[in-house]
Symmetry: C2
Subunit: 358 residues, 2 copies
Amino acid sequence: MSRYVAILAGGSGTRLWPLSRSRRPKQLLSLVGARSLIQATVDRVSSVASPDRILVVTEASHAEDVRAQLPEIPTENILVEPTRRGTAAAVGLAAAHIAHRDPAASMASLHSDAAVADADEFGACLTAAFEVAESDDWLVTLGIRPTHPHTGMGYIQVGQPMGLFHGRHAFRAVRFVEKPDRATAEQFIRAGYVWNPGMFVWRVDVILREYARLLPDIADALIRIQQAIGTRSEAETLRDRYGTIRVETIDYGIMERAERIATIPSTFGWSDVGSWAELMEIAPKDPAGNVVQGEHLGIDTRGTLVIGEHKPVFTLGVDDLVIVDLPDALLVCSRASAERLKELVERVQSDPRWSDLT
Amino acid sequence: MSRYVAILAGGSGTRLWPLSRSRRPKQLLSLVGARSLIQATVDRVSSVASPDRILVVTEASHAEDVRAQLPEIPTENILVEPTRRGTAAAVGLAAAHIAHRDPAASMASLHSDAAVADADEFGACLTAAFEVAESDDWLVTLGIRPTHPHTGMGYIQVGQPMGLFHGRHAFRAVRFVEKPDRATAEQFIRAGYVWNPGMFVWRVDVILREYARLLPDIADALIRIQQAIGTRSEAETLRDRYGTIRVETIDYGIMERAERIATIPSTFGWSDVGSWAELMEIAPKDPAGNVVQGEHLGIDTRGTLVIGEHKPVFTLGVDDLVIVDLPDALLVCSRASAERLKELVERVQSDPRWSDLT
């Protein structure tokens, strides 16, 4: 049974603003090490799938950058969404292409903009998930053991054990809950819930059957798109049909409503790099706890992130700051306030002076 | 009796680094308001001396900028030191030129890089100092009522009262003491000492007599330079003689050793703008206590200095920072550490990568 990996590379978050912005999304940035997040994601799945079985779903505005960053991926594996229609459409598009190539294939669906500390453990868990998915008609999700009561995450209630797969324990997933309040998140952690990082594995026939059952309108569009693959009307069909798909997430559209869901609770050091503070958690630090990219001289400087793209940055007597110096914008922010960056970005977005900055 | 003002515009301090540096000294910067410190100094003495009686002593590397900033000062009043030989030489050069024009003139000597909050009171005190100087052979110094036990200042012990001049009280100055330790500075403040801001007034014949008595070698060079003024050998004499003058300050060379010194304790809001923290004290602030030059958006930002020369600066959740963003260097420093900037500048100066930055 052939194994494919679909990598979702749409999205244009501004959570690492001003470095990430619509024309330069997070997945294309080298935030942890020299490889960008999407390059590291491809590297990480190489033990499971060869480049010809890795598909990337992206949008037109990022397609050129994605191709340039991933020369090993065949061009026909870079699927370009005509418009953004949510993760249900994007995952479905990848599933349709994989089903066209091999209706008996299994596939993983991963995000392109997360970081993983332990690639070996990730590879083992992914393999385990493929084994679960291929053993029956399970929708499998990797779960992340929570490190703190994060209120921005989706949580999965872990149910009955299903046994060992590739040395990892699999469980029934009882339910998915999006973004709880803090008290609920704390309760979830005590009850053994895991985070849902949006890493799914299933057989393509199984997931397409679920689309037909739970999202029949989307399934209909996907069938038309799949039928046109390799024909002269492929591009036209994609353009016409994809644009009509209703915007829906895979989590809400499928996972929260499906019945046979399994999860493999994992500890491979996952982060969605959702804020400057989170980047600081996972990035390599100097002895004073600073994370530095670029030329920097600091005296009496601790716990500070310095990104200097084009000129030296000098710091003196500062603690726990985020300093991002780009040619067209400078951000100086306390680590404690990094979670509130959205407030600032919204103000920037609403100001015509700064229309190029977001 | 004609009154002249000499403004000393040598020096290339890095105390407001990276904005101030050798090629862009503090006196040429617009730090408080739209006018540069040297322009504001000229503005401030306009009640005492017309532009043709204002002389500026500067060095070759700044002469062009000084002329450009002070178009109202006749070119022949911009005196260019062939090399820097300290304030005794610079003040002596101005005195020689003034004596050449009017041997009976009186003159003030002021620094070009200080800020004064109350220009009217300053003008009144300066007039009072001229009256004291013209009443007899006094060397008069304006004294500043200390606001705190500053250990970087020179202090003047105030002696017997000399009466009212232009409505201000003049006193004998008992002695000059440079840069005391903190305990001594506190003692000085309790004993009524005043700061010495290097603002002197005297008759030119009196000061040149003091040079002859206390600094005879410098006086000899000055006499030769004065004799050559207006002759074909003026430039050559200046170049040859000035370079041989021993480096000496007016404070140590004259004021600490002269006998007939008077002082007028003053309260016109003087600052030598000797650090970013001092600039923040005197600069106009927004309601959150921020001092901003350039484009800035701050959320939850207090007591912070933002200088953004070329692009917008965004701050979030920061207090009491100094942020100076220039095209070739960024400084982020806590206000509390601003006094230690020298440590950082020394590290920058010793690094060949950054030779253009100081």
